[in-house]
């Protein structure tokens, strides 16, 4: 029998998880309060479909806006900071220290300052995703071959040109990974902020139904968060296919690897 392809294995794992999710609670191995069977969750999602959809819309909008700031801004600032030894040494410590402040705990205050509507969620999630993206991109810049930058400089590349035409493509793998991390954190940030205080959004549903001990509805909302992550991952994968497959000689280096 031939070995399953990676895609098949992945589906096998997913299938196994689905089966476990269904039967662990059904067999009473996990109380349904902690994990309702998948079927119950799906039914909850289906019956409350319109409600979930409208809340998903809110979350999507917040995630979208926060992504622009967190990932776009994070990558741009990360590359700019990372490419200058001076700024890197001067500012990165401040930046990463700032991230050490547990923002989640400060969130109630955050809303007092920024209001309780969507902007505070967006700001929170953007800040939450911004720094890891920035740090990742800045670290990525350090690993690239200095010779390439020197070459571009010798050709008179301006600072912006260096960033766009050399640093960005050279750090593309790390940048895309940072994008992934930043994106995931933005999703988490928005949902957590909604859970903490809001009147709409997937996170709101999670905390509402959690307080009401309505687990199937909680997990239905979590399924939607997962769906968000899946969609985002697909987007990043598309970008990866577009930017990464070219020009990397793994084949020559590690044929048997």
């Amino acid at each position: 029998m031939r070995a399953p392809t990676s895609r098949e294995t992945r589906w096998l794992i997913v299938a196994a998880l689905v089966v476990l999710w269904e039967f662990l609670p059904r067999l009473g191995l996990i109380p349904t309060l902690f994990l309702p069977p998948l079927s119950m969750t799906a039914v909850a999602l289906w019956t409350a479909g319109p409600e979930y959809l409208s809340h998903l819309g809110v979350t999507l909008r917040e995630v979208g806006v926060a992504l622009v700031f967190a990932c776009g801004g994070g990558i741009a600032c990360g590359i700019a900071l990372g490419s200058s030894a001076r700024f890197r040494k001067l500012l990165l410590p401040v930046v990463s220290s700032a991230y050490a402040i547990p923002l989640v705990v400060l969130y109630p205050l955050f809303t007092a300052w920024f209001g309780i509507g969507e902007p505070s969620k967006v700001v929170f999630a953007a800040v939450y995703g911004f720094l890891p993206t920035l740090l990742g991109a800045a670290a990525g810049v350090q690993t690239i071959d200095r010779g390439l930058i020197v070459t571009a400089r010798s050709m008179g590349a301006t600072r912006v040109q260096q960033i766009v035409h050399v640093l960005l493509p050279a750090t593309m793998p790390t940048v895309l990974s940072s994008l992934r991390i930043g994106g995931a954190l933005v999703i988490v940030g928005v949902v957590v902020a909604e859970m903490l205080m809001s009147t709409a959004g997937i996170g709101f549903l999670i905390s509402r139904y959690r307080t009401m001990l309505d687990s199937p509805k909680v997990f239905a909302a979590i399924l939607l968060v997962l769906a968000l992550a899946v969609v985002f991952d697909l987007l990043v994968q598309t970008a990866e296919r577009r930017f990464l497959k070219k020009g990397r000689g793994d084949a020559a280096a590690q044929p048997q690897g």
């Binding site: 109380p31 309060l33 902690f34 205050l109 809303t111 007092a112 903490l196 009147t199 307080t211």
Partner: protein
């Protein structure tokens, strides 16, 4: 010596003080028990811990127990703590133009979380006072900051925070839920059916110690207020008010009945909750606490 794990819904709520007083007076030891106190973020978390088997006896409001029963978590109230929402107030900023509840029409009112006791009180207000306003979940830590910053026009605030806000002049009460809502089984202690069956004696001793704690608090005002100041890290005047309006009124015998439980469930229905077990299913009146003497 047996260990009993006591789950406490939030640090600042009265059961935490009661349990702590009992521990400090050595009442559990007298009963031959070791008490392990765990503080949870709110009632939901506490109840979840009970379901997970991480707590034996918890402080809780009956609506959660009634909901839990229909969700497969078999637990019952075993002793009465308070029969009204002592200390809960609907608070507006001190300089607010709002003088009475009806003026909140169309405004925003802060609650801790959707589906929580404060949500229920807000819904009760809507129903009983005939106003419509938006309930905005802010989390326990977000209530006062958002009230002060004007993000909400009023907030449903629990004790002793309510006393603190009023005393500091930041807020003004326009509704005292403790007085407004008829008596019912408001809150108390709960345990799982399994624990009730298998560890009845331990439960009895635990309740003895806890009500010994209540007795000690009610008999020793000065020291109890000292304890409140220490545990809740509040000003003495706040602790004094808290003592007067809450601890002095706690049930000393813990005796509960189905009628009180049913009243609680009925109130929860008014608050918009569905899928609740009947009052008779959520009380177990077998245990009559015999307060342990210090």
């Amino acid at each position: 010596q047996e260990t009993v794990r006591i789950g406490l819904a939030t640090q600042a709520w009265w059961p935490t003080v009661v349990a702590e007083a009992a521990v400090r007076q050595g009442l559990f030891e007298k009963e031959g028990l070791t008490a392990e106190l765990t503080v949870y973020q709110s009632g939901g978390e506490t109840f979840t811990a009970l379901a997970a088997g991480a707590a034996d006896v918890i402080s809780i409001q009956p609506s959660i127990v009634a909901t839990g029963r229909t969700k497969g978590v078999e637990a019952k109230m075993v002793a009465l703590g308070a029969n009204a929402n002592y200390g809960w107030n609907l608070i507006v900023p001190a300089d607010s133009e709002v003088q009475e509840v009806s003026q909140l029409e169309g405004k925003n009112v802060g609650i801790t979380a959707s589906g929580s006791l404060s949500d229920f009180l807000a819904l009760w207000t809507i129903k009983e006072e005939g106003v419509t306003f938006n309930s905005v979940p802010l989390g326990g830590a977000g209530l006062v900051p958002n009230l002060i910053s004007g993000n909400v026009d009023a907030a449903v605030v629990f004790a002793p925070l309510s006393f603190q806000v009023i005393q500091s002049g930041d807020g003004r009460s326009i509704l005292d839920y403790g007085a407004a809502i008829p008596e019912h089984l408001n809150s108390g202690w709960a345990a799982s059916d399994a624990f009730i069956e298998s560890d009845g004696p331990v439960l009895q001793k635990t309740l003895n110690a806890l009500y010994g704690g209540v007795a000690w608090i009610q008999a020793n005002e000065e020291e109890a207020i000292d304890l409140l100041v220490e545990l809740n890290q509040v000003d003495r005047t706040v602790a004094e008010q808290d003592y007067r309006e809450q601890f002095a009124k706690l049930s000393a015998d813990g005796i509960l009945d189905v009628a009180g439980a049913q009243a609680a469930v009925d109130l929860a229905v008014i608050g918009g909750m569905t899928d609740l077990a009947p009052g008779a299913d959520i009380v177990e009146d077998r245990f009559r606490p015999v307060p342990t003497q210090p």
